[in-house]
Symmetry: C3
């Protein structure tokens, strides 16, 4: 059914149209270096968010909330959002329950109808296994937030099953080109459920996850999406957190999930562009502008032919740099 | 042709029907921690099997048997099976020759017609490269073992070529949903032929095989199949065998191929669930039963929303634990 | 559109027909252990090529040439080819600019129309992202080198984007079975553009590239193509070059890109078959010939059932050995 992504040429065509409308556009890249979960019924923790300085906060109704607390969390999140002054630099997201729970629709209804205008800024859906899952979410969101009145809501999809990984190309394609009420922007790797489902065990260096982590980056980047790496479980070991964060950044992840405020600084620093990257990107964009003015198409920069995707990558780096340069990292 | 797996929702639907009929069902998980090959014309080695205590034995007519011995092995296996008292804890499998050899049909005819009732319990087919290969095997088995009279014969498919890996999703789908005389239950990684075919060389840490090993686990687990890791060649080095076995278990493999009885104990111990896994799984199932009685659907357990696949995984662990708890490991 | 590779059985069928016509055939395996780039407007460097002893030289009009030099390079390459006596052992290739540059067609026209007869022996196209890209190249080449008058020109496709990797199966299939003026023979991994496009960073051990490198080998070898590994950037560090070359050879790559003559010897040695491989391959082919004469199909060799793909692999090793045994390595 949904194996409809067709040819790359078509994808590129869509991508070009797409890139004039969304956060991929220059100047609107949204930094999501650290993506922090806060349980949606823990008022005390939620109230601390404005001072954390995290790029993305996720008010959680899923794993962080016991089943008999789901109703409480659903209503407490909109209420809290109405009271808090969360700085614009922190993106506000809500994680609803997965489709298998039969709680998703009610989660969405309460969150979308009761939250203050413009909030949440994005939606996170766990356990996405197929393009049909994305279609179902799109349908539900459209019910409570008609696309005629709203821009599509940015969507984070968590991949945490082997079937989700096998279907990731369809998920990306559908989430970008076939949705109306939501638009896929971020792929998140849910490592613990993934490992439980394949019956694996987490080792010190996560070597058993090389395939899935790098496969997720490849898919996300092929579709110009952000990719968010696994949670580092031992939140007290910042040395090991730093090493794992850098490893993820080098693999091409754009950010990492965190579960505690002490992790935010280390993680955000690891996902901040290096001076080398900024110099490369700034120079590339300057050259591009210069050649555009001269009416020349192709050009080489630092010994490489420059094309659209590299230009986009350079813009992402510069935009990320600009977006975060006024921020502290924790 | 066979690229027919369609949508995940459909797969899930099939999976649900499927899970009421097969060994995936609670209480019938078949442990296959060590899968040991014995040449089918080596009577002395075959007669030792009852005392080895291995989870799965494979009476081999393929690589373990020279071409001029194929006929001997074909007839000796059924004869030997009729004489031996192999304990119920040891699953009896036969490996036939691959389809390219033109020996497969005759192998199947002799083995299926001459073996004692109920034996072999499963069939292993090497060099599976496509869904068509699986269809061809299904057809041949159906000739000698009509599906009207028999339950489908559990099938082990060995993936040992890059084309087999590229086609693995189709192979899984076809072997589970489209066969009548056989039903795919196990994916086996044949590392030596794989390496010869890609022109690679085996290194000490098998780092050149990370992609293929983890890709096989992902596919197998997406379709709830077991996955059997590579043979450790140097059968005298048990320390290195132990390390590689644990590595495979952590990646999500459910067992490992062995070629010598001395390897069985080390391997089976490495693929035995840890106390932590058993505690996690037992607790999860208890919680699930409790919530079922109260008529509640979703629940969290140890901070995680629990869904069907995680429940299935927990049941597999408990069933494996129960199935092997009375066994010695060598 | 181009997702037409169909079934493996069909592929194999095509492969068999195919193998009677191309360099896959016994005796015609083309060694490409080192693939060296030389800027197409650098006459001095080009004139040194005859003495380098490299398996494949790539006269470059892409990254090695500034935009205002493209025209110069286009004409200088055919001119230089007419003057130089490059030994038959060195394959002569030209790298044109990628399709997004709008320079490809003119590159091809000048190179194909102005070069001496029989040169270049192959064509390298960068930034291949889809089967459509291959089709477009095939179409352009056909314009200037009609297939009615010529054998198909061997094609090297550089994969250097995540979308190219996702589409690699279609690219292989199309490049082998659907082209008229070119025929795909080699997949090259362009690591630097790939890393820039996924936003990754090159580490010492290239661990962030495990997935893409091994995925490329799997695809190439499934379609009996050669696979060329990444450039080792620091061309002065020959120790580290040697380690990385061997790693690539063990993964199944058949060669490696180089950017400096000093790298050629080290690389070509690493991709030379070991004595063990030659003994294995020679023995296998002898056994095969013996069994053919006796009219026997299947046979085992060193404890393994031998089929067509293993035979082909053995022939490649022997042919590579024969092809290079008279050569010095630098």
């Amino acid at each position: 059914m949904f194996r409809v992504y067709g040819s790359w040429r078509h994808s590129l065509h869509c991508l070009r149209r797409f890139s004039t409308q969304t956060s991929h556009e220059a100047g609107r890249y949204r930094p999501r270096r650290a993506v922090m979960y806060v349980p949606g019924m823990d008022k005390r923790k939620m109230e601390k968010i404005p001072s954390v300085g995290v790029d993305t906060v996720v008010f959680d109704i899923e794993d962080g909330v016991a089943v008999d607390q789901k109703g409480t969390a659903r209503y407490m999140i909109p209420e809290t959002l109405a009271q808090l002054s969360i700085p614009a630099a922190t993106e506000v997201t809500v994680r609803v329950n997965g489709l298998d729970s039969n709680l998703t629709r009610e989660d969405l209804q309460v969150i979308l109808e009761k939250s203050p205008d413009g909030l949440p800024e994005a939606l996170m859906v766990p356990k996405v296994q197929s393009a049909e899952d994305v279609a179902e979410v799109d349908c539900m969101v459209g019910e409570f937030r008609p696309s005629a009145k709203h821009q599509p809501l940015p969507l984070f999809a968590i991949i945490e099953s082997p079937m989700g990984l096998l279907n990731l190309r369809d998920i990306c394609y559908h989430g970008i080109y076939k949705c109306e009420a939501v638009r896929l922007q971020v792929i998140v790797f849910g490592s613990d459920d993934y490992l439980a489902m394949i019956g694996g065990v987490r080792s010190e260096d996560a070597s058993e996850l090389v395939f899935v982590r790098q496969s997720i980056v490849t898919h996300a980047k092929a579709y110009q999406l952000q990719a968010i790496d696994l949670v580092h479980i031992d939140f007290k070991d910042l040395t090991s957190l730093k090493r794992q964060s850098q490893e993820g950044a080098w693999m091409g992840f754009t950010g990492k999930q965190v579960i505690h405020p002490t992790q935010v600084g280390v993680v955000q620093e690891a996902f901040t562009p290096t001076q080398d990257q900024i110099t490369w990107a700034t120079g590339l964009i300057e050259e591009f502008d210069k050649h555009q003015k001269l009416g020349k198409g192709a050009f080489t920069y630092q010994g490489r032919m420059i094309d659209k995707p590299l230009l986009l990558q350079a813009k992402n780096i510069v935009n990320l740099h600009n977006a975060i340069s006024g921020r502290t990292n924790s």
